[in-house]
Amino acid sequence: MLEVRNVTKRYDDRAVVREVSFEVQAGEIFALLGPNGAGKTTLLRMITDIIRPDSGAILLEGRPVDGATRRAIAYLPEERGLYRRSKVVECLAYFGELKGLPRRAARAAAAELLARVELEAWAGKQVQALSKGMQQKLQLCTALIGAPRLLILDEPFTGLDPLNVRLFEGILHERRQAGATVLLSTHQMNKVEQVCDRALMMNRGHMVLHGTVREIRRRYADHAVVVRAEGVLGGVPGVRSVESVNGESRLMLEPGATADQVLRALLDRGVAIEAFAPAALPLEDIFVKVVREGIGLDHGQSGPPPAAEPTP
């Protein structure tokens, strides 16, 4: 669906995106992660053809992103706004028209979308009459209108209450079922764990982590297993130490021992096991660890310390 090949972007001889390559498959929800100033917004702007890379290529469905292919993309930037004096339905229909819908169809699509996000009663009101949360919902709708094949959403859930977050998660899943692909940039790691298939993490312009969410969590897992069980867990071969909190035990393994061996040993001892899983770190802990320790950075060419997102 989307292919980013060795993309680099420099501002004033300072590389803000360095040799980034990844692919997003059709129908997946892909997360783009990274601390502030990592180069995420610059990368998203290049994918949407708002700015051009200095080198490398970005292909959408096998073709370079340009005026024609860009229509398949919808982008909800982090810095976003609306026409405050426009009527809600007109504002949304305008975005629909710009994305290629005929005027009537754009208006009908706008009305339908407003109904879907429970804003139909506000269709004829001025945008400035909406609350901040409602405006946030309307902004999300401006990205959703026109049935784009690639949805690029930068911090889409900011300012939404849990009910509306669930509403939009539901809409994203519907769109995914219908064949759309979602590229999500967010700092809400729990959302990434819940909804994303794969993730890419950037730091100082470098690509520092890439893979399925499950793989990444496994890669950074401690050499341990988490067990919920009835019985004595100490003294099992291959287990170095045991920490128990709230009925859940963390078994630190000896070097060379595997989870399979430990599970078999526990069953042989007659321990009644309710749950057994490799101990994976939460994504948030991995994020902090990778950024703090500079994992994946090429220090010979490391750029400036993380700062505000560079401007063109």
């Binding site: 708002i50 426009s86 028209e97 063109p312």
Partner: protein, 448 residues
């Protein structure tokens, strides 16, 4: 530009046009501006006529100290006629062959009001001055002994108004008439007092024939280039301001990045130029319609000597001038953070289109002077000053100057369009800091 791009451009243009003309401020500008000018003109012209009348009305008695003895037989009354002309009154056509017979008294519609002042003679300055101070007379004329050889009439008044020429002319006519009174017949004496009464001036017109220069026609000929250039300048300026405002508002509301995924910066910029240019054109069209409804009957009667090709050239200058100014305004809107900051920069460019208004009399009276030619070639001042030159009475502008002026303006417009599109692309995403001039020029040259 392919069909899809054109459709997006027109979508932006329609939205910009409708949003602008639906604003209350637009309606206020449509009606308020002509109303303001009408009130100002009415008040100033009425005040002038009233002031002239007052000057003559207040001149009820004039003291004369005649040391020359030339005015011993002079009449003891000054009669003055004031013609209260109505510029909107029906006037005779002045096109075609200048036939003096058909034109006698033509075009002089209006009412005649007569004023009379008594003349009192005093033997010396002391008595006359006392009478003036005692308000027995309003003015004193002292005719020196050597008047015949050297002139040198002195006039004393308690005060004089801006229109003191009105009473001065009345007294001058009395002196002229009475200088020859009793020495020549009365008809000759009357003519000496008003030697150029009923004068007609014929000028070589654009068609190669001599045409009568009529007072009201002359007014139209002088005012038309100014009004034309003023409308053009205002249209360019107002359209430019709309553009600046539109871009600044979108930038302030942080909506541009969302838009730029759906539409390219070039398409967005073109749509804005079309839509807001259309709004500016509609504004000027409505003003012209209001003007035609009010002053139309007079213009229709008098006719103008402006051929249609000048109107076509004016349209060409409007389009090029608007695109030139509009591109620059868009560029300014893109690199500044808000409307206020944008206006601080744009005011210097806007002033450019109004420079010809400041030197309007010079351009219209000498349309081929170095100043007029220079201003009509320089792209910032070309649209308004060339239109002034073309529509100036009797002006013949060489074709090469029109061609060169259009070429320079088109070149400047193309550079501004390309440069602004590049600056627009980068500047739209720039928040919080205003770039310096070298940075802007670098963007304009190289783009993103």
């Amino acid at each position: 530009m392919n069909g899809d791009a054109l459709r997006r451009v027109m979508t932006v243009a329609r939205r910009e046009f409708l949003t602008t003309i639906r604003r209350r401020a637009f309606l206020f500008t449509v009606l308020g501006t002509p109303a303001y000018f009408a009130v100002v003109m009415l008040v100033t012209s009425a005040a002038e006529v009233r002031e002239r009348r007052e000057v003559l009305r207040e001149l009820s008695a004039v003291g004369v100290v005649d040391s020359s003895g030339l005015f011993a037989q002079a009449t003891r009354e000054i009669r003055t006629q004031l013609r209260a002309e109505n510029p909107f009154a029906q006037a005779r056509g002045s096109r075609g062959l200048p036939d003096p017979r058909s034109l006698s008294g033509g075009g002089q519609a209006g009412t005649i009001e007569e004023f009379r002042a008594s003349v009192r003679f005093y033997p010396g300055m002391a008595e006359a001055e006392a009478a003036l101070r005692a308000r027995e007379v309003d003015q004193v004329i002292v005719v020196p002994e050597s008047y015949l050889e050297a002139g040198g009439v002195r006039r004393y008044a308690r005060s004089s108004s801006l229109f003191s020429g009105t009473d001065g002319r009345a007294i001058g006519a009395w002196l002229a008439r009475n200088l020859v009174r009793g020495r020549v017949d009365s008809a000759l004496a009357a003519r000496v007092a008003r030697p150029v009464e009923g004068e007609r001036l014929y000028n070589l017109g654009r068609g190669g024939a001599f045409e009568l220069k009529d007072d009201r026609r002359q007014l139209v000929d002088i005012m038309l280039p100014l009004v034309f250039a003023l409308l053009l300048g205002m249209c360019i300026t107002i359209g430019g301001q709309y553009l600046l405002q539109g871009v600044a508002e979108e930038k302030e509301s942080r909506i541009l990045e969302s838009l730029l995924c759906a539409i390219s910066p070039g398409e967005l910029m073109t749509g804005k130029l079309f839509g807001l240019g259309g709004a500016g054109l509609l504004l000027v069209g409505l003003w012209s319609a209001i003007g035609a409804l009010t002053a139309g009957p007079m213009l229709a009667t008098l006719g103008t000597s402006l051929p249609p090709w000048i109107l076509l050239l004016a349209v060409a200058y409007f389009v090029l001038g608007y695109l030139f100014y509009g591109s620059m305004m868009i560029g300014i809107g893109a690199v500044t953070n808000n409307m206020r900051e944008g206006q601080q920069f744009s005011v210097w460019i806007t002033l450019g289109s109004f420079v010809p208004m400041i030197v309007f009399t010079s351009i219209v009276s000498r349309p081929n002077s170095a100043l007029a030619v220079g201003l009509s070639l320089f792209p910032l001042t070309a649209p308004t000053s060339m239109v002034m030159r073309l529509s100036a009475p009797g002006a013949v502008v060489p074709a090469w100057q029109i061609g060169l002026s259009l070429l320079l303006l088109a070149a400047a417009m193309s550079l501004a369009l390309i440069g602004s599109a590049r600056v627009f692309r980068i500047g739209l995403l720039l928040y919080g800091k205003t770039p310096n001039l070298p940075e802007i020029l670098r963007w304009a040259r190289r783009g993103a």
